[in-house]
């Protein structure tokens, strides 16, 4: 793999609550290569969305702040850029699409105009060029009859078409990295497959790198090259898809895999992970998964395991990893 396009080093998102700080994302580090799709998996509250909002430096509340060593993209350190510099990075280098397209598209603006706005801003194109480009992007995201659809309003589109339109808005700025936050969760299952297919095609055609945030390992398994599993604000395992899915080393990754409803073909009790995720303002001192972990030892309770490389391209934060031979 070529040197990483995006390098994230020790990125933390910290919330100020009264007199004390609550760490919502704890020292997240990863690399994203050219044309790579990274699946960021975790349950609600695991910090996966917040981490990506942090990458864009678009945190949802003034009570939140960003800390970290570096976020390097295209020769810039995003954490050191001034506000104007960061604005230039958003859209042009880093695009983002969201779960709910209806609330992220401007309902009073034609689809074409929303796409063209970004093209004109970032590429300095003329009005006519931008419109032609918008039609081209709409064609690329699989909107039928883009020449007429470019003048439609979002409410004239169906759910899946709106998601395509939002992808088109992000693509209009020609970003290098696309962050997709649960892009298929609000869609019907048959439409979900279409959108995932589209994301794969865009990667192949444009060499786009992507971070795909999802709570569904099934979605990630079908699309991603590598998978990062987050739990309670920390990365617990990160590796190539093949390795992580066939031989998960972290008990939480293994648990998530085992309790996915599609995992077992037959009726009967489902596998579960006992208990529930910890509250982020009352975290255990040691490993955050320790209270729910079947493998936990006293060590796990005492000491927070750090992320370390266990094999080329495979990192793990666990004191008692599962054996490489697979699930026992």
């Amino acid at each position: 793999m070529s040197p990483a396009l995006l390098q994230v080093r020790e990125l933390s998102v910290i919330a100020r609550a009264g007199q004390r700080d609550i760490t919502l994302v704890d020292r997240l580090s990863f690399d994203l290569g050219q044309g790579e799709i990274l699946g960021l998996v975790g349950e609600s509250g695991s910090g996966k969305t917040l981490a990506c909002r942090g990458l864009m430096r678009l945190l949802p509340s003034p009570n939140l702040r960003l800390e970290g060593q570096a976020v390097r993209l295209a020769g810039n350190d995003l954490l050191r850029l001034d506000k104007a510099g960061m604005r230039r990075m958003r859209g042009r280098e880093l695009g983002m699409i969201f779960q709910n397209p209806s609330s992220h598209l401007d309902p009073l603006m034609r689809i074409g105009a929303q796409i063209a706005e970004g093209i004109r801003l970032h590429q300095g194109a003329s009005r006519r060029e931008a419109r032609a480009e918008a039609i081209e992007v709409l064609r690329q995201v699989g909107i039928p009859d883009p020449k007429t659809r470019v003048d439609s309003y979002p409410h004239e589109f169906s759910g899946g078409m709106r998601q395509r339109a939002m992808i088109a808005v992000a693509l209009g700025c020609n970003p290098k990295v696309l962050i997709a936050d649960e892009p298929t969760t609000a869609l019907d299952v048959t439409v979900q497959a279409q959108i995932l297919r589209l994301l794969l095609e865009l990667r192949d055609r444009r060499g786009l790198s992507m971070i795909l945030i999802s709570h569904d390992l099934g979605v990630v398994a079908q699309t991603c090259d590598s998978i990062a599993v987050m739990y309670a604000g920390r990365l617990c395992e990160h590796g190539a898809k093949q390795a992580l899915l066939s031989q998960p080393r972290h008990p939480y990754s293994a648990g998530l895999l085992a309790c996915h409803p599609a995992t077992r073909r037959h009726a009967g009790l489902m596998n579960t992970i006992a208990g529930q995720p910890p509250l982020l303002d009352a975290l255990p001192a040691g490993c955050r998964f320790e209270p729910r972990c079947p493998q936990a030892t006293p060590d796990c309770r005492a000491q927070l395991p750090e992320l370390r490389v266990i094999a080329p391209g495979h990192r793990l934060a666990c004191h008692t990893p599962l054996l490489a031979g697979g699930l026992s």
Partner: protein
């Protein structure tokens, strides 16, 4: 096995917007369009379909919470649509519902104990003196500590709230539970816990279950039979294993194919089902699925397809078997 619930040709209509300035030409949406199904005592039926296909409306119409415009709902032999007060009261005593959003289904101002006690009190299930004991028993049944009775829903997690919702349903001592997307809002690791709880309760109490979901993976674990709904109609019904292994309706086949398996070797289907579910405001003529169907014949757009029933299975498609 005796039939507990029998639905025959049920239609539910809603007034639709856009009937002209003075609503002179009132438009109707057929949310449920001639649905029929049956459920035996103690059986679990999964009702699957995409959003907007009318599965929740069907469930509400069955429980007489939404008025149906025509058709029959036979619960334990008597037709609920006759509107007999005694029948409706019996329906309320013997059925219960579990909802999708565990928080919004509970009154945020009531304590958990009050929520359960009120049901016991209104339905006169146990003498007043025994209500606290029964509340504790119900909480135990769904795996919650009795202390939680003092808490309010806002201070519980989603999974805990869903357990309270199940306890409230059990307080009725129902013969039929209707669960509407009851795990869709929960995290994967919690989903399994709730499914297992439902499985356990079913076995222990002989409950019949109508389980509404868009997730076929869950149906495979929990249900005996599955009914697939598309735009207000049931297009296929049968035992879970048979329907999943050998789908007869092209829509079922597409749904089964789109189950997001965790198999790193499995790629996305090269040609996923095209198009999107049509709007019930402008349903396609004939078979509602024909504009998206790979196997559609010219007659599919003209007539509502015939239904085939054989050996406990039912499907509505011109093809008696799917062409390969």
């Amino acid at each position: 096995m005796t039939t507990l619930l029998q639905v025959n040709d049920l239609h539910v209509q809603f007034p639709a917007p856009g009937g002209g300035l003075l609503n002179l030409r009132p438009r109707k949406v057929n949310a449920v369009n001639g649905a029929s199904l049956s459920l035996a005592a103690g059986q679990a039926l999964g009702l699957v379909g995409e959003s907007g296909c009318g599965k929740s409306t069907l469930a509400r119409a069955i429980l007489q919470l939404t008025p149906a415009s025509s058709g029959q709902v036979l619960f334990d032999g008597s037709d609920m649509r006759q509107g007999n007060r005694l029948d409706i009261e019996r329906l309320r005593r013997e059925t219960a519902m579990i909802f999708q959003d565990p928080y919004s289904a509970l009154n945020p101002r009531q304590r958990i104990g009050q929520i359960l006690a009120e049901v016991l009190q209104v339905q006169r299930k146990v003498p007043a003196a025994q209500i606290p004991a029964r509340v504790a028993e119900l909480l135990g049944l769904v795996g919650l500590r009795a202390e939680l009775a003092e808490r309010k829903p806002g201070s519980l997690s989603g999974g805990q709230c869903q357990r309270v919702g199940i306890a409230r349903a059990l307080a009725v001592e129902p013969r039929l539970i209707v669960a509407d997307e009851c795990v869709a809002a929960l995290d994967v690791s919690i989903q399994g816990q709730i499914i297992n709880l439902l499985l356990e309760l079913r076995q222990r109490m002989g409950l019949a279950l109508l389980f509404i979901t868009h997730d076929l993976g869950v149906v495979r674990h929990l249900c005996d039979r599955v009914a697939v709904m598309y735009l207000g109609r049931i297009v296929e019904e049968g035992p879970v294993a048979e329907v999943f292994d050998d789908p007869r309706h092209p829509y079922t086949a597409a749904l089964v194919q789109s189950i997001a398996d965790i198999d790193p070797a499995r790629r996305l289907p090269q040609h996923p089902l095209a198009g999107e579910p049509p709007s019930p405001l402008q349903p396609p003529s004939g078979c509602a699925f024909h504009p998206r169907c790979r196997h559609a014949l010219p007659e599919c757009g003209a007539d509502i397809p015939p239904s085939h029933a054989e050996g406990g299975r039912y499907h509505a498609c011109v093809h008696p078997r799917l062409p390969c």
